[in-house]
Amino acid sequence: MERLIEEIPSFFTIWNIIFLAKAMGVTFLLTAIGCFVGFSVGGLLAIFRKTKSLALLPLRIFIVIYTEIFRRIPFLISLLLMFYIFMILKISDNLFLIATITVCLIATAYIGEIIRSGIESINQTQWDAAEAMNFSYFQILKEVIFPQAWKVILPPAFSFFIMFIKDTALASQIGVMELTFAAKILNNKGFSPLLSFGTILILYFILSFPLDRFGKYMERKLVTNRN
């Protein structure tokens, strides 16, 4: 314990703080891009998956295959796979880019599935009523289905986001300089593991807590207000 307290001044040097802040930025960006892309593209996939037109059938089949595959591969495996594909085909050696693309692919598959099940949770009779009154497919989604589906979609979506912040730690395995990797480096430099990993524990909390609050706020805002 005494050693720990002695170490603190040399641990929190400006250089280390900037180093950790940068790593935190990378973790934040990975999560934010993943969640944003995942939510938008996943939402689109869910919307197209429910269409009935024959012309879109190939697209629907593609969506199902894509979703089912990426929800079944462990994150680490798809990350490593993406890494080696990039290396072998010499596409780019930007590790952050590789991690971002993988993160987006996975988030899209998961969130797409969360949104799809939210849409499915609304009774077919709501579609029938709207359809019989000449609502178009997108009008039904916007006016009737999504306002009711948010309360099914948002809680699992936000727990996925929060889980995802922590999952980005796996990007350290291919050498992306995010929080976990930064802690490992500091640990290797001789700082006590308790201090190194304890610090990023707090940083992870700082990242995920506001997101959790934001989720609760969106739930309040989007779930039909009764007054």
Partner: protein
């Protein structure tokens, strides 16, 4: 002579129409004319195709073959612009009301006329309030569907259908999901409409009501129309054996 006269007044003509749910043949060679201002009741056992016929008329069940002629225009249910025309003229009230759970009563009634038919918001709201007053729900404008009783929800659903200004109203077993004491209030609303001369197709199990309001009664069984006749004849002296079996059983159960 009489045939020609009938043809000219027909508002809906259904000609040798067939429809399927997947492989199940639910409407078999349906031929039916409905005249303007007529109140046609469809009766028959469960699964006989009554509700399917109404669903088909608003395009929720696509016909496989046959024709539907609406106001002398032959319409194709697989063509989107035809379907729009059909749904502008025909409104349906469902057995389970199907009110939009995320909207209050007034919004439920106003959304399609304002957002879909693009009518003036003020006028629509005025009409909606009038209609809701007629069905006795003027004090529930801001209530949500889950705060209303079944009978109240069903009356909102009727007001919602009427606010679309349809020429034809389809009522799909509007009382069968309701408690007995709520049935009367909904039937009163329907009676009011009947007295105003709107063309209606009614699927109902309320035989006394059917007898009272219908101009003709259609008996269906197993996806086919078995008999079309005056209510008096259907209930007292039907031509077909299957009709008399069904009517006899229903009346005995009452």
């Amino acid at each position: 002579m009489e045939n020609i006269w009938r043809e000219n007044l027909s508002q809906i003509e259904i000609k040798s129409l067939n429809a399927y749910y997947d492989k199940l043949h639910v409407l078999k060679d349906i031929n039916l004319n409905v005249e303007k201002g007529e109140i046609l009741s469809l009766i028959g056992p469960s699964g006989s195709g009554k509700s399917s016929l109404l669903k088909m008329l608003v395009g929720l069940l696509k016909p496989k073959s046959g024709n539907v002629i609406l106001n002398n225009n032959q319409l194709n249910y697989n063509n989107n612009s035809d379907l729009r025309i059909i749904r502008e003229q025909i409104a349906i009230v469902f057995q389970q009301y199907n009110l939009f759970q995320n909207m209050n009563v007034l919004k439920n009634v106003c959304i399609a006329p304002t957002k879909i038919q693009k009518r003036n918001k003020k006028q629509v709201e005025e009409q909606a309030i009038n209609l809701l007053e007629k069905v006795g729900l003027k004090d529930k404008l801001k209530s949500y569907p889950d705060e209303l009783s079944g009978g109240q929800q069903q009356r909102v659903a009727i007001a919602r259908a009427l606010c679309l200004n349809p020429e034809i109203l389809l009522l799909d077993e509007v009382t069968s999901a309701l408690d007995p004491e709520l049935v009367q209030e909904v039937l009163d609303s329907v009676r009011l409409l009947a007295s105003e001369g709107m063309t209606m197709l009614i699927v109902s199990h309320e035989m006394s009501f059917v007898k009272e309001v219908s101009s003709r009664v259609v008996f269906m069984d197993n996806g086919s129309i078995i008999e079309i006749n005056d209510p008096k004849i259907i209930f007292e002296n039907p031509k077909e054996k299957r009709t008399s079996d069904f009517v006899g059983k229903i009346l005995k159960d009452k």
